[in-house]
Subunit: 297 residues, 2 copies
């Protein structure tokens, strides 16, 4: 896995996403939150925490206020958005205009999108990514990042036709669906269900206290305690259209990739990307993973 | 999934395996045990139950004695084998010579192989399969069927180098490793570990109250309540040789197939098999599964 990434240079022309599987350490080593600060450009930068996924935004902010304070970040503030009115209040949303890092807490991704979907806040997220900021999300905040968002599921042990439903997320990534608390909550079957019903979507399952760093057009890195599971159903042979709701579909030829913490892959050969400042270095991904990654951004 | 299989004709020149993921229903519908009786040729045939995997063989026999009695089987008997001496006692083992169905109970597969591995009983299993009998195994009895047998594991949530070990099973199937209680005990990570360490071996995970019927050279069928998971690591790109024991390997391009109960596939096109009596009918398997199946027998 080679040497450590040098994540310093944010604002390098392209922003980054830090997609966290929930339960990131906020008290001890804080590896993932530390990386968020680094990806945002360092402790002297401005960080904003969006708490709208949670029904207890003040408690959420208390946790991250302390954590980012411990990491030496002075310019840190919450953005509490109680409803869609506030989410379209240009005055309130202005705080995101010069944010170097934006962090979306856990809670409920349907609530998060219900309040922020299609508002000025959503537009500000895209603008921030465009200008090179880091956008992080944990748990619900992670699932909310994609165009198609896992909204509901009552999948139990085995995949089940009709047992998941998707909603519209922030579309910071497309062609993928993100699930979180992945190994801990044994969510492979529900992500397989997503892929069986939507073979155009690739599934990404992120473990607790684990994050996937994505720099558009450059590469990915896995950090933290666990692993990231990639499910590619684009080659799938399935009978899902023939079976009844609630039944388990046949699924032949799902491609599975696991990347543990420390994995780092470039989308293309480094020499081909000489003109772009990378926040991720590493090797070029093996072909099947390469294709997965290129399809998702 | 079409019409029901007609499983009647056993002794059709090739025997069958009934590989059960543990916890099969023994009191109500008894679907899987009913299929065992059918695959053995019917309730008038002779069934023998091998209890050597268990430390409580009499209790095991009591359960199956009642179940097979309920199913109308008169000629049923246990084969209790306390040690290797008995396993090589030609007199004792003779009861297997004209058995139409042999059922191996659960318990501990290491114990089962420790007592029976390389003995006259093992030879009798092969002879029985050869002459067209059905050999069934549940839980430990299922894992014991393959040449390479999952013996020990301390894999937790994620795959882990060195956390599984294999032993030598009965080799009724080769090139595969069977795990049981698969969805219920969340065993994907340990089967992925087997495959990462042994890419030549294909992993088969069988759910509780679920069975895979295998007729050598003909096809497979899934019956019961759950599903069967097939893991093919022959294309894998992994760093497992470079990482330390206890670490999670990268795994790129594992092929995953899920077959729910009711799936039935022939190994080759039906017309090409006209000369063989099938206990399984169905369609020819899609190419990636076909290759998996042809590799395993």
């Amino acid at each position: 896995m080679g040497k450590q990434a040098k994540p310093s240079r944010a604002h390098a022309g392209r922003g980054s996403l830090l997609i966290i599987g929930g339960g990131e350490d906020r008290e001890d080593g804080k590896d993932i939150l530390t990386r968020f600060v680094e990806l945002s450009g360092g402790a002297d930068k401005k960080l904003v925490v969006i708490t709208a996924a949670s029904t207890v935004p003040d408690e959420m902010w208390e946790v991250y206020d302390k954590a980012f304070g411990d990491l030496g970040v002075e310019r840190r503030s919450p953005l509490h958005v109680p409803g869609r009115g506030e989410a379209n209040d240009a005055e309130l949303v202005r705080t995101l205009d010069d944010a170097d890092g934006i962090f979306m807490t856990g809670g409920d991704q349907k609530r998060l999108l219900g309040v922020l979907g299609g508002t000025l806040v959503e537009a500000a997220l895209h603008a921030a990514l465009e200008r090179g900021a880091c956008i992080a999300g944990t748990s619900a905040g992670a699932s909310a990042m994609t165009a198609h968002m896992l909204a509901d599921s009552d999948v139990e042990l085995t995949p089940e036709k009709g047992a998941i439903s998707l909603g519209a997320g922030f579309a910071l990534l497309i062609h993928v669906v993100i699930d979180q608390h992945f190994s801990q909550r044994h969510r492979l079957s529900r992500l397989l269900t997503v892929v069986a019903q939507n073979p155009r979507l690739q599934g990404i399952g992120i473990d607790e206290d684990t994050a996937l760093v994505v720099q558009h057009g450059v590469g990915v890195e896995v950090i933290g305690a666990g692993m990231v599971t990639f499910l590619d159903g684009r080659h799938i042979i399935s009978n899902i259209d023939e079976i009844r709701l609630g039944k388990t579909p046949e699924m032949v030829d799902v491609r599975l990739h696991l990347l543990p913490s420390g994995s780092r892959y470039l989308l293309r050969a480094p020499e081909a990307e000489a003109g772009v400042s990378h926040i991720i270095d590493g090797k070029t991904a093996p072909a099947p993973l390469q294709e997965f990654l290129q399809n998702m951004v």
